[in-house]
């Protein structure tokens, strides 16, 4: 039985590998939100689960093929029945919520034909800190506890 909802860093990388295997040509996505935080944790070998499980990942893409696969993984899809969470495509306008210069602080990794760009953990947390709901604070505290954040200047 797969884990329900999204909480383990490895779940995000597994999905990106799966998506990369599906592509027939080059495509890219930018991963934001808690999915991005989990990705950073996975890349650093961290296995501590995210508190306040997430129900979805939030990618932005300009690739038609990537978008098509994301549509197959939307809420209520067979993908969600299998994984316990879904994909929620976001418009590129949402990237303007990040602090200036965020593009220069991203991390990138390639999975097959898929190039994944992820804003830095500090940038990912900026919109969450503005919203400042209990769940956002829990994710901020988790990111700090597992060592994802830059030292305070």
């Amino acid at each position: 039985m797969p884990r329900r909802e999204l909480r383990d860093p490895k779940q995000v990388e597994d999905w990106l590998s799966e998506l990369g295997d599906l592509l027939t040509g080059p495509g890219a996505l930018t991963l934001i939100g808690s999915g991005g935080l989990l990705w950073h944790a996975a890349r650093r070998g961290i296995s501590i689960p995210l508190p306040e499980n997430s129900m979805d990942v939030d990618p932005v893409t300009d690739s038609e093929e990537v978008a098509e696969h994301c549509y197959d993984a939307m809420i209520g899809s067979e993908f969600e029945q299998r994984h316990g969470w879904h994909v929620n495509l976001m418009p590129d306008y949402v990237l303007r919520e990040f602090p200036a210069g965020w593009e220069a602080r991203t991390a990138t990794h390639t999975y097959g034909f898929l190039t994944v760009v992820v804003p830095s953990p500090d940038d990912l947390l900026a919109p969450k800190r503005r919203r400042n709901e209990p769940r956002d604070r829990a994710h901020d505290a988790w990111a700090s506890a597992v060592g994802l954040l830059s030292p305070a200047p």
Partner: protein, 100 residues
């Protein structure tokens, strides 16, 4: 890409990202004939709760999805018809469930 001011003029001070996503990705995928057929079949499926609403506004929604104009151009044209891009984007049905 629209400027921040143009974007605010179209989508308002408090944009609904789900509406904008259905417009942006709907337009992107409308260019793929097979995907366009899937979207139409999904929205016209008896199980889709927005089916009737889509049928009432199908012409306008399809015109926006197949347009090659910029967001600002579409918005200006829709304003002349007493509506707006924000309003029409809200009428693009969502994709969900296991029957897509």
């Amino acid at each position: 890409m629209t400027t921040a001011d143009e974007h605010t003029a179209i989508w308002g001070k408090y944009p609904n990202y789900d509406d904008i996503a259905r417009f942006e990705y709907g337009r992107m995928l409308w260019r793929r004939p097979a995907m366009r057929m899937r979207l139409l079949a999904h929205w016209l499926d008896e199980r889709h709760p927005y089916r009737e609403r889509f049928l009432e506004r199908r012409e306008q929604v399809e015109a926006v999805l197949e347009s090659t104009e910029s967001e600002s151009e579409i918005h200006r044209r829709l304003l002349e018809s007493d509506t707006s891009l924000r309003c029409v984007a809200r009428e693009i049905p969502p994709v969900f469930g296991s029957f897509f």
